[in-house]
Point group: D2
Chain length 346, copies 4
Amino acid sequence: MVVVMTPGATDVEIDAVITRVTDAGGEAFISRGDTRTIIGLVGDIDRFHGLNLRALAGVAEVVRISTPFKLVSRQHHATMSTVYVGASRVPIGPDTFTLIAGPCAVETAEQTLAAAEMAKGAGATLLRGGAFKPRSSPYAFQGLGEDGLRILSDVRAETGLPVVTEVVDVADVELVASYADMLQVGTRNAQNFSLLQAVGECGKPVMLKRGMSSTIEEWLMAAEYIAQRGNLEIVLCERGIRTFEKATRNTLDISAVPVAHDLSHLPIVVDPSHSGGRRDLVVPLSRAAIAIGADGIIVDVHPHPETALCDGPQALVDGDLRDLAHAVRVLPPLFDRAPALPESQV
Amino acid sequence: MVVVMTPGATDVEIDAVITRVTDAGGEAFISRGDTRTIIGLVGDIDRFHGLNLRALAGVAEVVRISTPFKLVSRQHHATMSTVYVGASRVPIGPDTFTLIAGPCAVETAEQTLAAAEMAKGAGATLLRGGAFKPRSSPYAFQGLGEDGLRILSDVRAETGLPVVTEVVDVADVELVASYADMLQVGTRNAQNFSLLQAVGECGKPVMLKRGMSSTIEEWLMAAEYIAQRGNLEIVLCERGIRTFEKATRNTLDISAVPVAHDLSHLPIVVDPSHSGGRRDLVVPLSRAAIAIGADGIIVDVHPHPETALCDGPQALVDGDLRDLAHAVRVLPPLFDRAPALPESQV
Amino acid sequence: MVVVMTPGATDVEIDAVITRVTDAGGEAFISRGDTRTIIGLVGDIDRFHGLNLRALAGVAEVVRISTPFKLVSRQHHATMSTVYVGASRVPIGPDTFTLIAGPCAVETAEQTLAAAEMAKGAGATLLRGGAFKPRSSPYAFQGLGEDGLRILSDVRAETGLPVVTEVVDVADVELVASYADMLQVGTRNAQNFSLLQAVGECGKPVMLKRGMSSTIEEWLMAAEYIAQRGNLEIVLCERGIRTFEKATRNTLDISAVPVAHDLSHLPIVVDPSHSGGRRDLVVPLSRAAIAIGADGIIVDVHPHPETALCDGPQALVDGDLRDLAHAVRVLPPLFDRAPALPESQV
Amino acid sequence: MVVVMTPGATDVEIDAVITRVTDAGGEAFISRGDTRTIIGLVGDIDRFHGLNLRALAGVAEVVRISTPFKLVSRQHHATMSTVYVGASRVPIGPDTFTLIAGPCAVETAEQTLAAAEMAKGAGATLLRGGAFKPRSSPYAFQGLGEDGLRILSDVRAETGLPVVTEVVDVADVELVASYADMLQVGTRNAQNFSLLQAVGECGKPVMLKRGMSSTIEEWLMAAEYIAQRGNLEIVLCERGIRTFEKATRNTLDISAVPVAHDLSHLPIVVDPSHSGGRRDLVVPLSRAAIAIGADGIIVDVHPHPETALCDGPQALVDGDLRDLAHAVRVLPPLFDRAPALPESQV
């Protein structure tokens, strides 16, 4: 940590900083510049934060240098992690490329099964589908709830695909975890710390979507909340951030994949459906995601997107799905990744 | 609602849109342009949403025209609302200007009482203070929990100031409502719909902070979630949005005050402390908030900001607090507002 | 300047940094932390920049501490500046509040004179009006050019109001300066460095609009370009930045006024017309600008906004103009400012 | 174009809109909704813009439907264009993938030649290099000017690589065009309309960088300015947009490639060096650019990045350059593109 003093900071003010740091058991090194003095701190960073140095007279800035996250950081865990999902242990990690696909929302048993078959045909090894839907409007379709979970469970039995589904409420975590193989925390709950802590104790892997206005650092801090409760089975999901551009629903921050891989050992998947919000962008963005080194993608498919209750405009249909199937089969090997297969089938 | 077809849309595609709309009991009016056809829809907007017209072949865009919120909209409730807080019924609304002040976090009984006395001395009629703190880092101070609520309750007894405090978890809503006079939903929970629904049933007024990346429309939709559960005692709070500018923690969107007042009958307060994140901006931003027509402000005060466990750098101290006290006494009358007084003292 | 090394930086890498700094005549102070080493530099900052330390092996970050601007900085010029415009020397500075008003675009002599009379009636002491208009579309009205300048000059003769008008091309600077009393550099040219240098030599005061995506620091650096060519008669103009919010054309960054006043001695005016893009926001935003300490505002007025060739939707008409006139007369004195009067009439 | 009336619009107000439209030779179709009336317009869009309908009483919004650009639009030119650069006619277009590489700034003849040899060795067929550098600070290195152009010209003679270089001032367009094979307009000049018009008449191809806060539509409108002056030899360059994320200098908007390809027939290249501002991101972002269908990339290389006068931290060195060379040779054929070769060598 570095404390930057204001140009006019007095010796008394500088001494006050040093005293506070050394009283807390830290060491302080002073550099006196032509216009400013800076003070480097050595010792326990967390304790320094508690000192609230920024509030001292004469202090212009306190620059943090150490990474604020620990358990999810590569500094403390250099090897990339693989997360295994479901009884058949489908891997998400550095050696494979995983396609997660399914309907945005579970509507009926027929629709979910049809979508799952489409997904599986395209190479998906995990089924996504929403039973609890967070919607901007209280008047929009909110999902089938436990009925939806039951449908997902039945479709898993039928197809063999483990299930990823969103949880939006602390009170539902246990219920959702009893049906699902992986719990998803959505973008609107990316800093709902109670929910993060709850899924940190649920005993199932978690897919953590990036908040639409979260920095990569805040996203990793959110993952740290989950990890701190004992759950390191976390998959990060980049799903677009909010910018001024209006041609797409969100702006996919493709750079986030290598940036987060550099900072954290957790696997990262990309959501090309919700970031663009446009069907014609799903396959191009999926290709970009594979090429940049994502560990997987999660896409919307729907047997009849024109009647979908949620996000129909971005669900893949026949032609596009064939293109996607081709991409996830052909491209990953070029980047030293195998298409994901359950461990039981390897 | 207006459906805009793609330039090459066929008659069959156009007819498909019309059929779907009329089958749903709506009316459709066609305008054939030189390059495109547009179709105007008349009828029940909510039902049209369910039709998922955007997913039909040949449809380029569906433009919504009606306002998506109802209960909080001025279209359905032209008169501006006043929300009354606490047993003494402190008003927040169009005729008054309300100062809400207190420590960012409750740390000790002494600190909270001292801050409350400072607040009261400056003209505050409501006490803010956090017992449950949502923090980006799981390693940061998370608040005193129920102990903090008890301190706030004691300080209310001592000072007569009703208490505003944040709730971050559905499971705590009842507990917090049993101590507090007004519940606050923070920026990170602005689209935590479960929490919004829970405070919609808590029987106490709610202060709803704007999500740091919420549009004004999404913010009002979040309020609609609360209102839909029967609670219309909602105060909106503009607290800055996330932009590229780094000189301030967030960018206070001062225009949001007149824009939201135009769309909604709910009162709006401004948080000049968290938007700027800098003590020297609190008084200038407070003046701007009064001048633009905010119904109140909510500010951080702390007896010893240099030792504050949370957000010390922005807490007001002596000199600034005197300036603030002056501003909230002198300026509101120029804009036809009285300094807020409990109804019991009017 | 502080050099932050990567966690794994070797002694050889640390020495390489120190050697390069000391070879360049600087001094380096080392602080070895538990995970990282940081090096504080003392000496000529500009020379350090040339060293490109960030490109050295083992360097994680180079944090600049000194302000990058000099001539426009308060560090080198603590007293706030006043800029005087026109033969009658209308002041823009800390003691007054200046209303600049007129049509967005000069269309005809009649329209410009009528708008100028409206402006003057409302308390304006400077006339704005565009002869060269930068438009997003090449098919939109681009302004009358020199004919427009001649009209402005005639209207100045008639009304006594000095003229502020935009220049968009280096080749036109001399021409525009021969007619205008103050040159405006628009938001799209905020980092057109050739134009900034050209107006730095034009011998007339300059109003520099903030780039719609410029940080406050970049804006002041742009001003430094003008100052460096010998022209310190610069007025900054905050006109809104680009964000995700769609209810307003841009988001007025009202905090920029106190932030820039803290960093620079230059006066700052606010443009409430172009930031919001909505007539109903002009008066509220103007009140906020006065209250927060702006040195003036610049607004669009038009005798017949419904036929305006440019930005009609935001031009003030009768009722609003009366409200604005009232605000600029009554509010500034509360903040220790006089309504601006030409020096000749003081 | 669709005119949306306010909820309370009167028949008189509706009639006023219709009269204005029909007086201008257009047709108007009315749809009366439950809360609002909307009016569809058919006829000459440009003339409708001149009518300034938004300024009429009772008008809430005017929604444009036709694309605002023509010459660069795919609606008027369905086949994708190829731009050929230099005497050897190096193609940039749908059938090839073009690597443009070289030093950010020309510093010396030796450095430029060495960088060009590195570029050529990696597969580059065009040399980039800046002689005129737009820098945020007036105190930073501004480029060698005409001396730099002469060096680039000499290096072209030596290596056979046609030259792409930036022009920042209308007054220099002729000079730069006399040396360069392709002129670049930088992000800070993306809406410098005078410069756009000047390069529209320069007789050489133009690379147009996206403004860091330009929407894709505004970017294409900027291209339209060039095209309107008779120059359709335009290559678009996506180089990152400004967002709240701080881990990268800008956020590469990778979706802009398919979105712009859908709207315009112009080729698009990606700049992975300036978007990320980090060397370790250049190769991953380049791979993503190839995979998503970009027509080329433009990257910084420097023989000694640790002494580069400009942007050293992102210049590629040996190991990375080999990875890049591999990527541009192996990946494009998978997406039906050949590595670019001068037409003379095909």
